[in-house]
Symmetry: C2
Subunit: 198 residues, 2 copies
DNA sequence: ACCTGAACACCGTTCAAGT
DNA sequence: ACCTGAACACCGTTCAAGT
């Protein structure tokens, strides 16, 4: 599996960098789960001495942390959000969903460690923007956004992880998974009610 | 910390049983987190040879699994549910919440492993009963219950674990934590809308 | 039947020594 | 500056041997 690291001239064609380490770690995690990631296996995958890693990465915890941020940054792939706030909210929810599905194992771990969703993140700002459009009063923006992020994030976690016993879902509507669609509809209605009450 | 295991007569006053092992493991997890649980430390806490554990427990994974079920069974502490379905739902949500808060570390792990919420569980049946009262049609009972369980469970996970960046919550209402209350209200309204539409 | 010591194949991490 | 081998203090688990 590991390839020669020497170019014909004798110099290394690929030097060990933080980026290469992170990418390799993410690949390992996506493939075999976070349990299967060890500094020693990672080194083997990079065809490198285990100890060399410690010149680029403080320790395993820091490595996993960095890889998590790497994956989280990929929600940037959000298409520009337009339409009614209901449409925007649905769009954002599904974008978030696709992230958790493409890095199942990592997100599983991320949700188990603090501050996965940061207030400076694209995701957070997008959510806040949608809530402003929806007409949520200023002082409620942060708590409502936090609750929504928690609810959706948690649902995805339970979905991805089958926390809830599986059973046949009802025939799907227009969008994706029926369970997720129920959630989106329910949250949208809940938000609507909240606005109407204010 | 460890006490003598011999009664004055010379017989052991406490024999090693599955129950004692489970209880000790739960105590260790609650105290220091699941990361800190090792077969060797658990044996030390029980004042026993590490290998003796394997006579009562297949392996570490099976042990953690059993302990998880032990904790889940404690939602039985649900008071009998009465009142409107909205009141019942709030009650159930808060009961679930108190479980996740009293076994923070374990629940964290449980949500990261399949089938934490089983369809035969008290929690599940209670939730289903409430939805029947609310007037959810039969064929939607299971999916809606699953979504609700996922949403609430996930929110608790993110709360317990501070997945979302913390910030000052708005002044609380009549019940508990303001964030959780927002969620309960939003889900109740969402459910209400769903019923109205049917 | 129940317990145990030694052993195996792993970990993450430190550190002194190499180039 | 970058890499590495040996070593340390841990793991989970197996198994043959004890009582």
């Amino acid at each position: 599996m590991a390839e020669d690291r020497k170019a014909p001239g004798g110099r290394r064609d690929v030097r060990l960098t933080e980026e290469r380490i992170h990418a390799a770690a993410l690949a390992l995690i996506d493939a075999d789960g976070i349990e299967a990631l060890s500094m020693r296996k990672l080194a083997a995958a990079l065809d490198v001495n285990p100890m060399s890693l410690y010149h680029h990465v403080a320790n395993k915890a820091a490595l996993v942390d960095a890889v998590t941020r790497l994956a989280a940054a990929r929600v940037h792939a959000l298409a520009p959000v337009t339409g009614t706030w209901q449409e925007q909210l649905r769009h954002l929810a599904y974008a978030f969903r696709s992230l958790t599905r493409s890095h199942r194992e990592l997100v599983l771990h991320a949700f188990t460690s603090p501050d996965f969703i940061r207030r400076e993140s694209t995701l957070w700002r997008a959510l806040r923007g949608i809530l402003v459009d929806a007409g949520i009063p200023d002082e409620e923006l942060d708590p409502v956004a936090a609750v929504l992020a928690g609810l959706v994030g948690g649902l995805l976690l339970t979905e991805v992880n089958a926390v809830v016993d599986r059973f046949p879902a009802p025939a799907g509507g227009d969008h994706g998974d029926p369970h997720f669609e129920i959630a989106v509809q329910m949250l949208t209605a809940g938000l609507q009610a909240r606005i109407a009450h204010a």
